[in-house]
Chain length 209, copies 2
């Protein structure tokens, strides 16, 4: 989007990139609104305002489209998370703020779209083959980011498992939020988790180096 | 099943009950093997060996069938949990054993079938109307059981939230397990959470009455 302003002729490469982004964003919207079963390549190309031919050229199958869409939005969201991380407070309020950031991520449309993919992949071997590597990569990256944000020292016994438990907790909260509005309960749980996590991480003294 | 042995004529009521149970168990098997989208009333009646007419008489729609199936299996499983609870160790190994019991529950076929329902209900208002009350009831019952098993005193600040966090954690672990075999990672996380939970619950002294 950035290089279009002020130019008359948009380079082909830029137009292709914008069209792909429109397709991928329309796919995530479809997954969120209609679920995996209700998402079709026809519906996506209509919503994105892209011809069927162009859509099929870039993403020949529904599986290719949905996996690319969740991967694209995950990368966009990861970049947003990295940026938001810079604004996190330091000191005693930091852990709670990190948890809020993670919980916001796991209740966002990207999580919902990914959930649709995971569940569909469970009974669809071809989709599973495409989703599993993405899921592993995203899992590793989210774990690394969380370790950094919590300034956790994984060399100490139990710290790695507490970071993993934190991510499994927010994943569980994300799932609980899919069919009920769970925001108040979630806030109280995260308040308590932050206190428990600080006590547990503090029990293994940080930064003795 | 119990009253059939040694009798020549099985009472009508008993036969009806057995047929319903076969239909509901076949439905859960279908949900686990083929997902919500791949489950049909025709497939279920074939698998259960029940005529279409009889099936439609008891469960006139797919939604009625899938909700009743998850409710039935949840009740069966809850009864199993209550029974298993009697065999739990007392003393320092208890918390870890409770967590294992919960994790086993949230990685069982009942959880998988329920997950299919939750995700389908997200984009299907009629299904949501039927699933939401079931989900609330099951949530309350599982919470109460967990409080009892952990011998947690919810009158103390933070204890209720720690129990909720424990259930959200095992729900997250259940979701993580749907597309990857996660058993070793899960065990390490539960070991650590048992230690952290004991420390946190112990920090608010129990049983001062």
């Amino acid at each position: 989007m950035s290089s279009q302003a002020g130019t008359v002729r948009v380079p082909q490469e830029e137009r292709t990139r914008a069209m792909r982004a429109r397709l991928l964003e329309a796919t995530v919207e479809c997954l969120v609104e209609r679920g995996f079963g209700g998402t079709s390549t026809t519906l996506v190309s209509e919503r994105a305002g892209v011809s069927r031919g162009a859509q099929l050229h870039h993403f020949p199958t529904k599986n290719a489209l949905v996996v690319a869409a969740v991967e694209h939005l995950t990368d966009v969201r990861a970049a947003e998370l990295e940026k938001a991380a810079a604004a996190l407070p330091t000191g005693p309020r930091r852990t709670r703020a990190v948890l809020q950031m993670l919980a916001d991520h796991f209740t966002s449309p990207v999580f919902t779209a990914a959930l649709e993919l995971w569940v569909a992949a469970r009974t669809d071997p071809a989709l599973l083959a495409a989703v599993a590597p993405l899921e592993q990569r995203v899992g590793r990256e989210t774990h690394r980011l969380t370790v950094d944000l919590l300034e956790a020292d994984e060399a100490r016994p139990g710290v790695r498992e507490l970071v993993q438990a934190t991510l499994d907790l927010v994943r569980g909260l994300g799932l609980a939020n899919t069919i009920t509005d769970d925001v108040r309960r979630r806030h109280r749980i995260l308040d308590q988790w932050a206190a428990t996590l600080d006590a547990a991480l503090g029990a293994t003294p940080q930064e003795d180096a």
